[in-house]
Amino acid sequence: MLLLDILISGLVLGGMYALISMGLTLQYGVARIMNLAYGEFLVGAAFLAFWLYSTIGISPLAGLILAVPLAFLANWAIYRWLLTPLVRRAKSRGQLEVDSILATFGLLFIVQGIALVLFGGQYYSYGYLSVPVSILGTTLALNRVIAFIFAGLIGVGLYLALTRTRTGTAIRAIAVNPTAASLVAIDVRTASAFAFALGGAMVAAGGVLVSMFLTFNASMGVVFTMKALIVVIVGGVGNVLGALVVGLALGVIETGVTRLVDPGLTLAVTYALFMIVLLVRPQGLFGSAVR
């Protein structure tokens, strides 16, 4: 059945969008760092997965065990040494946003440059679990289904962690109002660093998983940053569940437009929705009105 086919393929595509967006919503929404180098970190993780797989035969799924903690530490270090001075200096949220955009814009070129030196500029693609599975009559690639499952697990897991635990509540408090959070004895700096590092760990997970089916090269990061940014802003900055739901919805909408209307219009529809949300609900579908 066509509609069911669209729904299932769309959800799987959307799972990938959600997967690459949830890290950004943590970094931008909680740590208040608009990380322009986000996509570069994703591509970096993809390269790591490729390297592990092609040289020592470690599967990308096993590679997650290495990539995720590594990215957590690297992002923690970046926040501590590179971004903390900006946070300290910033008089307002707006200023921190501008400063962090400039700083991470530079970071983008550093990460990209390193990838170019190590891997050159050519395309990379390897096949892992590119085998068909049938779900309710729809044929899908197993690797994409796995990415979808991970997106769901990470999204729901993070949502529960943020709403049901003490640390999670502290993180949400910072997302709402960092000044007030510090008044109730929340260590804003540590918690922000934690959120940024967690976001970095998630983007690494995303990079490893999408490398199983996407073709990538050292200069492709911006494609992922753009997509993630749309999902994060529509979903509500800092809202993990919002990113999950919007990512999935975007996948279904794009697939629906491709099958029912015209594939050439997918981008137009995506950006039209983006604009409508910005006009009608600038805080995002799941965002709170007060920032």
């Binding site: 050159g120 050519q122 390897y126 085998v131």
Partner: protein, 379 residues
């Protein structure tokens, strides 16, 4: 003024989001290989003296403004003898006026555009090596039309194309060329650049009932479409994807499953000179060349060297004249440009036994018969 070292070259590298990477697939490796080959042989002979090539290299980051600035700088500040152009159709069109004003020969190799004849007329110092993309559609319709006239495939063709410069040009030309070859386009869909899920499009192609599927695609899409076709076990009798099919990454990823896939490019696999070139490229650069613009890039450099040697001094006006009128000995045989345009451009190739053999234009020396029907995807 003649320098002690002769050609100082501008190697324009690339890192932009969509255009860049191929500079490192095709253009730069061949520049490096050529410089190495020439210098190892003692250099370029100018006026009885052998001169080594010295390279000045700027990274244009696949940004046309950067490329124009770099070429300006090479010409006016570094005062190099020869400038090698950047990678890509867009960039070569962008730097055309600068090359023309500075008076350097402009070897626009990795530039496939229908505007090539017009540009060659406007800038007589520019040379176009991948020809007009219209020729690509004609060559493809030649292959498909023949299969249809032999009643091996039906008239229906499913066509998918990327909504970007080269994809649009090819698709536009194909609509007319397929029609005149007696083919009927059963599905004609475009997708935006950067589309990450190709299954939906392929399902439409499957439903169209066409025997031949043609995708005017860019490298990441070429791989994504092929991946999706394999997952869906969709095995049309003729399967064609455009840019990237001839790249080493395609062979590396799909291996034996690439068998029977057609795409842009190809080469005369029987030519010993080309075989030697492929071997040397692999040894020197550390990876295989792509099977489309790589040998052509090398040919353009061989022609440049011979033109300089015949003129006997660095006189760009005379070198340009020699390139326009001379006949050159290259790895692709004797080449004489026709109105500044390369006469041999392989437009359809096919993976056969691990090699991307040239199929069309069928009149070329070394053109092979297509492997038909495309064998089932190997998993």
């Amino acid at each position: 003024m003649l320098r002690k070292s002769l050609s100082r070259l501008a190697l324009a590298a690339a890192v932009s989001a969509l255009a860049g990477p191929a500079a490192r697939v095709t253009t730069l490796p061949n520049y490096q290989l050529w410089v190495k080959d020439v210098n190892a042989a003692g250099g370029i002979t100018v006026g009885g003296k052998k001169l080594q090539i010295e390279v000045v290299e700027y990274d244009d980051r696949s940004n046309s403004e950067e490329a124009v600035k770099a070429i300006e700088r090479l010409g006016t500040q570094d005062k190099v003898d020869i400038i090698l152009p950047p990678w890509g159709t867009g960039l070569n069109l962008a730097v055309g006026p600068t090359f023309n004003r500075l008076g350097y020969p402009h070897l626009a190799v990795t530039a496939a555009t229908d505007r090539a004849p017009e540009m060659a007329k406007r800038w007589p110092n520019s040379f176009w090596f991948l020809g007009p993309s219209k020729a690509g559609a004609v060559a493809l319709s030649e292959v498909l039309g023949k299969l249809k006239s032999e009643n091996k495939i039906g008239a229906k063709v499913a066509m998918i194309s990327v909504a970007d410069a080269f994809g649009i040009e090819l698709a536009t030309a194909a609509r007319a060329a397929f029609k005149s070859a007696g083919l009927e386009i059963a599905l004609d869909k475009t997708y935006p650049i950067g589309t990450q899920d190709m299954q939906a499009l392929l399902k439409d192609a499957m439903a169209s009932g066409a025997d031949a599927v043609v995708a005017f695609s860019y490298p990441p899409d070429t791989i994504a479409i092929t991946d999706a076709a394999r997952v869906l076990s969709y095995n049309p009798k003729v399967y064609y994807t455009a840019v990237g099919t001839a790249f080493p990454v395609f062979k590396g990823k799909f291996g034996a499953a690439a068998e029977g896939v057609m795409g842009v490019g190809g080469w005369n696999v029987d030519s010993p000179a080309l075989q030697a070139y492929f071997k040397r490229h692999t040894e020197v650069i550390g990876r295989e060349p792509d099977r489309w613009a790589s040998p052509v890039t090398y040919v353009s450099l061989q022609m440049l060297q011979q033109a300089i040697e015949r003129v006997g001094k660095i006189d760009n006006a005379a070198i340009i004249k020699e390139l326009q009128t001379g006949t050159f000995d290259t790895i692709m045989g004797k080449i004489k440009l026709a109105d500044n345009i390369m006469p041999i451009v392989w437009w359809v190739g096919q993976w056969q036994n691990g090699e991307f053999v040239g199929l069309a234009p069928t009149s070329y020396e070394g053109a092979k018969a297509p492997l038909f029907p495309k064998p089932a995807w190997k998993q």
